[in-house]
């Protein structure tokens, strides 16, 4: 069996925490990567720890139990890819996690944010610059603290949590029928990606298999979202370096793509399109025949603007060797998705864990080696081209019009389901745990931004502070996706 992007674990027997930590360490030493690591507060002061590992054979889940006052050692020093997970576990459960170098709040759900003490640098030539939470543009809030030697950034400390809405707890309080609409706002620019991860997870719990045609329609929704948001990134990067033709042209090309989504599902953000059991809107043959011409014209215009972009001396001068993250650093801190691939890490869950849609129509993996702002721009251009090719193939699949929703019946009791979806930023992970009656007991949502924000901090080191906007846009991370 090829690895799948979902997993259902029934009646997991938890290990005691020393054994759990040992297993986790062993697996990571043997080359596994952590996809997710989270905790749930159980009654009677017990904390359930869940690690999702990606090994050569596919996904594997580890489950451990610890008393909330136990000394569960942090593994971050040995495996920095765990740093944000252990911080989150500490914040959500109060577990001590001794040995963690930096248990900084992830979202400050309780403490006033102003009580946090930032890293501080002392010396004659040093100064600090504080930016945000409210930024210059129309953008979500977050705080950036630059520790500088003259113009050079020594370190960037990122303070998030301003967007915290309590979405994980809220989902459990709502009827299941309301869940997908809520999930679509975890990160509103990734409505399709999160909806797909959630649907996949819930369908695993319900034992429902979605027909291939419906999965292909989901793939069309996801690739349209990817193209649109990659264009937002390119347009923003172009504007930030004063390459205005790029800013306007990529901006209007994005309009073309999001209006296609609107024609197919009624929303420019793909909202209301995916629902557990399939999709609410199929694609009728007339539309499926009409779209390829639009996509072909789009790709032609894309090549015209890209040719100007790639040959412009000033664009080359502003993007090469700016905001570099090496492959080693990307792997070490656990970057995912586009940010990882731009640093030469070959990680794309559409390739590694293909579902029915990407199994039927494989997606080639794109990567760049340089890890700088140029690489992140060039990767977007490549991925847009690959997505457009994929959309051409997908629209040629027969039977996309008539794709009724499969009914979601009773959920498997005492089960953990996990779903992974490669959204435009990277892997989205959702986990649902049921109780003995098959009711949802715990929900974990993970946007790729959670892991990639630290990549932005690394990218800034040794760069000039004036390069921050272009570095930030090149990552284009979600604030609310991190803050939940």
């Amino acid at each position: 069996m090829p690895p799948t992007p979902h997993l259902l674990a029934i009646g997991l027997t938890p290990m005691q925490h020393p054994e759990f930590v040992h297993e986790l360490r062993e697996s990571l030493q043997n080359g596994a990567r952590t996809v997710a690591y989270f905790a749930e507060n159980l009654p009677d002061g017990v904390v359930a720890l869940t690690a999702l590992l990606q090994e050569a054979s596919g996904l594997r889940v580890l489950r451990g139990h610890a008393r909330s006052d136990a000394q569960v050692p942090a593994l971050t020093v040995q495996f920095p890819q765990l740093h944000i997970f252990e911080r989150e576990i500490h914040e959500q459960t109060g577990l001590a996690m001794p040995g963690h170098p930096w248990l900084k709040p992830v979202r400050s759900p309780v403490e006033p944010m102003s009580s946090y003490r930032f890293f501080h640098m002392e010396g004659k030539e040093v100064h600090e610059v504080a930016v945000g939470p409210i930024h210059a543009g129309v953008i979500e809030p977050g705080h950036f603290r630059f520790l500088c030697l003259g113009e050079q950034v020594h370190h960037l400390e990122i303070q998030l949590g301003f967007q915290h809405r309590g979405i994980e707890a809220l989902l459990l309080q709502r009827p299941l029928a309301h869940a997908t609409a809520l999930v679509e706002t975890i990160a509103g620019d990734t409505s399709v990606g999160h909806a797909w991860a959630f649907c996949r997870t819930l369908e695993a719990l319900a034992g429902v298999t979605v027909p291939l045609e419906a999965e292909i329609v989901r793939g069309i929704a996801l690739e349209l979202e990817r193209v649109a948001m990659h264009l937002t990134g390119l347009s923003g990067m172009a504007t930030d370096i004063g390459f205005l033709q790029g800013g306007t042209t990529w901006g209007r090309l994005r309009t073309t793509i999001i209006n296609l989504s609107m024609q197919l599902c009624g929303s420019r953000f793909g909202r209301g399109w995916l629902r557990p059991g399939g999709v609410r809107f199929g694609i009728d043959p007339a539309t499926a025949q009409r779209l390829p011409a639009i996509l072909t014209q789009f790709q032609r215009d894309m090549q015209t603007i890209t040719a100007l972009f790639e040959t412009s001396l000033s664009v080359n001068g502003r993007l090469h060797d700016v905001g570099t993250v090496t492959a080693e650093a990307a792997r070490e801190v656990g970057l995912v998705g586009m940010a990882a691939r731009a640093s030469g890490v070959e990680l794309d869950q559409r390739v590694a864990l293909p579902d029915a849609a990407y199994g039927q129509l494989p997606m080639p993996l794109c990567a760049q080696l340089a890890g700088d702002c140029w690489a992140r721009a060039a990767l977007r251009v490549d991925e847009i081209a690959k997505s457009i090719q994929w959309l051409h193939q997908a629209l040629a699949v027969p039977g996309l019009a008539d794709v009724p929703l499969q009914a979601i019946g009773a959920l498997q009791p005492d089960a953990l389901a996990i779903g992974v979806c490669e959204g435009w930023r990277g892997e989205i992970v959702h986990a649902l745990q049921t109780d003995g009656q098959g009711r949802l007991r715990h929900f974990k949502a993970q946007d790729p931004s959670l892991r990639n924000w630290f990549g932005l901090a690394l990218a800034l080191r040794g760069n000039e502070i004036s390069d921050f906007p272009i570095c930030n846009k090149s990552f284009d991370l979600s604030y609310c996706g991190n803050d939940l």
């Binding site: 400050s108 809030p141 967007q163 979405i167 306007t248 042209t249 015209t304 100007l308």
Partner: protein, 251 residues
Amino acid sequence: MLRSLRVRISQGRQYIGDLRAAVPANFRGVPVIGAGACATGCRACADACPTEAFRALDPLEIDLGRCIQCGDCAPVCPEKKLTFSSNCHTAAIRREDLLISAARPMPPPIAVSEALRKQFGRSLRLRSVSAGGCNGCESELNAVGNVNFDLGRYGIEFIASPRHADGLVISGPITRNMVEPLQLCFDAMPRPRVVLAYGACAISGGLFAQAPQIERQFLDANVAILLLPGCPPHPLTLVNGLMDLLGIAVR
């Protein structure tokens, strides 16, 4: 140079000439309540709604200030009474104007405010603050200034400094962690100043109305003068609302 010209030619003409007349094709905008009575005791639409937008049943009354345009109500209606129109003229100046029914299918048209027209009719600078917005509203607010909608042609622009701003555009339900920054931003704006609420979250709390992490007192103290319903609202909702309120003629 040649490459630059090629891009210019490929760009063509992108702006929408008559913004008031524009209707986005297949946009799921406003719920349309069909004629006829509902089955006795049926509350399928209200049960499907994730934001309690159905304020009354039989005859149906829908609060556009809560509706997130998800469309989950339409397929569950046994009478097939609910459809959606692509109309973007849904902005309102009073909260109660956002209640629609079969008898009153759209919010009333916005009358020109002479005071606002005099003050801001030729130049309005807006400061956006996202306070828990999911980047849906923020993306559409950015689109308001793009080459298609180009609201800058009427002197309406988003700017960086609250010191230069006439209006504060709030998106998101207002998270507790944004209460202080939002207030600081507003305090930094010179008078006269106005508040606009963009999107269901800002108007009513939307999907997050019940979340303990939300604190909305700012909007009690500073009542929004323009409400832009939707999730996210289409850029034309803001465009039309502002043009109507400020009495801007199509040029």
